[in-house]
């Protein structure tokens, strides 16, 4: 069995290599889940009681109390505090003002800057609100690409690929200067507000959809790829609608080219990797499959009735926080006693025996 990231061999933890090794390990491990303080406090209290009983430590002396404080010193401290607070809070910040979106996940280096502000861009981190008028920029370096997933105010999921510069105009409009943006307005009850992406080439308006718009590249001014629903390109009085399974190329000379496009495959890999994680605790395999298939661009097919029954009845516990939707599919299905294969964009799920014997139904 192979190991993903293993212990570095002896001698590789020196100087710049030490920093790189630490960076790689810690970055790939991701953030630690916060531990519940009340649980730790309770454990500490029990352990302390046991320790005191066994080793007879005296009770902790009461902390010394300061009886009084000179009024002048208190006033001075208050004044300094207020001055600091004013300096910090009055600084233009992309995280201040009415939020148009919030950051769901950050991978690599992503910077945010309030539009029109002379202040330096600041690193963006998960959970931060993003005000309307904010510019977001993701690291373009292939060695350490930055990507970010946003949850727009209206509920849609938006992701920015590496090397992207985007301006969040409002909860429903994003201006793209370079790079690529992916939009998923969701489905069913969780459908969010439609999102429009503005480029010099025109305004791309989603209609119940999953789509990607990429600025420039390969001789084109813009490339639109539609996975679900449709997208309307408006430029001047012209309006062109592109349906799911199609791509629209806006050439530098303004001419349009429409062609068939895949809804899954390597070109969507960055979208899959940037997908916000599903909390699987207590959800059925069916619900998990709907999520994974939507992210990967698959359609789900059951090879047999038993597999469909299991998908509806097996309840998942735990987390897939460190896995992509495609990686999690293998883990969850095999853990649930189900086999799967992906054929021509179809995720075929069956009981192990039948799928192994028959391959694809």
């Amino acid at each position: 069995m192979t190991r993903g990231t293993d212990t570095p061999p002896n001698g590789t933890w020196r100087g710049a290599a030490e920093e790189e090794t630490a960076r790689r390990l810690i970055h790939e491990a991701g953030p630690r889940t916060p531990l519940p303080e009340e649980d730790l406090d309770a454990i500490r209290a029990v352990a302390r009681a046991q320790w005191r009983e066994r080793y007879g430590a005296p009770a902790r002396p009461a902390p010394r109390r300061i009886a009084w404080m000179p009024v002048a010193a208190a006033l001075l401290a208050t004044a300094i505090g207020l001055a600091w607070w004013a300096r910090v809070t009055l600084r233009p910040s992309p995280f201040a003002g009415p939020p148009a979106a919030s950051i769901e996940a950050v991978d690599g280096i992503v910077r945010a800057k309030a539009g029109g502000s002379a202040a330096a861009a600041v690193p963006a981190s998960a959970g931060a609100p993003i005000a309307a008028g904010t510019n977001l920029e993701t690291e373009p370096s292939p060695e350490g690409p930055g990507r970010v997933a946003l949850r727009m105010g209206g509920g849609a999921s938006v992701r920015l690929d590496a090397g992207t510069r985007a301006h969040i105009e409002s909860p429903t409009v994003i201006a793209l200067a370079r790079g690529a943006v992916y939009v998923d307005t969701g489905s069913g009850d969780s459908r969010g507000d439609e999102i429009a992406v503005r480029l010099p080439a025109g305004l791309f308006q989603g209609i119940g959809t999953q789509f990607e718009v990429r600025a420039g590249g390969a001789g084109a001014e813009a490339l639109l790829r539609v996975r679900e629903g449709s997208v309307r390109l408006k430029r001047g009085r012209e309006s062109v609608t592109t349906p799911a399974g199609s791509e629209l190329v806006v050439r530098g000379d303004g001419t349009l080219l429409r062609r068939a496009g895949a809804s899954h495959g390597p070109e969507w890999e960055w979208v899959v990797r940037t997908a916000p994680k599903l909390a699987i605790e207590g959800v059925t395999v069916r619900r998990f499959l709907d999520w994974a298939a939507r992210e990967a661009g698959w359609r789900v097919e059951f090879a047999d009735a038993e597999a469909a029954r299991l998908a509806d009845t097996v309840v998942l516990h735990g987390s897939i926080a460190h896995l992509t939707p495609t990686e999690a599919t293998g883990v969850v299905l095999s853990s649930s006693g189900l086999a799967h294969s992906v054929v021509d964009g179809a995720l075929v799920v069956g009981t192990a025996l039948r799928v192994n014997e028959a391959g694809r139904p």
Binding site: M1, T2, R3, G4, D6, T7, W13, E18, E19, T21, A22, R23, L25, I26, E28, A29, G30, P31, R32, T33, L35, P36, D39, L40, I43, R44, V46, A47, Q50, W51, R54, Y55, A57, P58, V106, I109, V110, P123, S125, G146, E281, V314, V315, L316, H317, G318, S319, I320, A321, H322, L323, E327, G330, V331, V332, L333, S334, S335, L338, A339
Partner: protein, 220 residues
Amino acid sequence: MGSETTAWPQPPEDEGELVRRMRAGEETAFEMFAERYIPGLYRFARRRLNQDRELTQEIVQTTLCKVIEKLDTFRGEAPLFTWLYACCRNEIAAHYRRKGRRPREVELAFDDDGGQVLAGALSGRPVDEAGEAIGRAETSELVHLALDRLPPAHARALEWRYVDGFDVVEIARRLEVSYKAAESLLSRARQAFRKAYETLAVGPGNLRVPASHTEGGAVL
């Protein structure tokens, strides 16, 4: 500004000395022990107990009580955490023995921290893919446990730098120290992380668990 402002007590490098002071009834020694070892032990147990908070609390408390009771027997020949984690593993194994096999229909694949829980259940996956995922999860667990063993300011600074991507200027601002002090803190944090990680991963009593050690599908 200008100097590191962490009030976290630095535990002695010599764990034998820490244990000696605990046995002598020194309150500060116990607090150091609690700060340094309880969070990691909790994280270690929780991922092996299906994220069950109540059960994790119970198992960790039992482990600590037993370890404290036997502090006199600690000789310092192996790291203290090795002893703690071994006791914790025993408590978890005993729990599962008392309970019997975990419910068949409840399938926990990976926990919050990426820790592998049901290695046996992965057998249906392509070997390389499953192996890579498990390897990543296992490494993530070791990284998180290593970070838990650092002073909180050091662990936080490393995560700001390498998970959140903050630059040194931002970290200095957050820690309210000078740029140079932040650089120095990061350097010391990396060294401490390296030491902690190496101890957990390859040192005596490392935590890597061979696949043959799985019991009832659960890594104990």
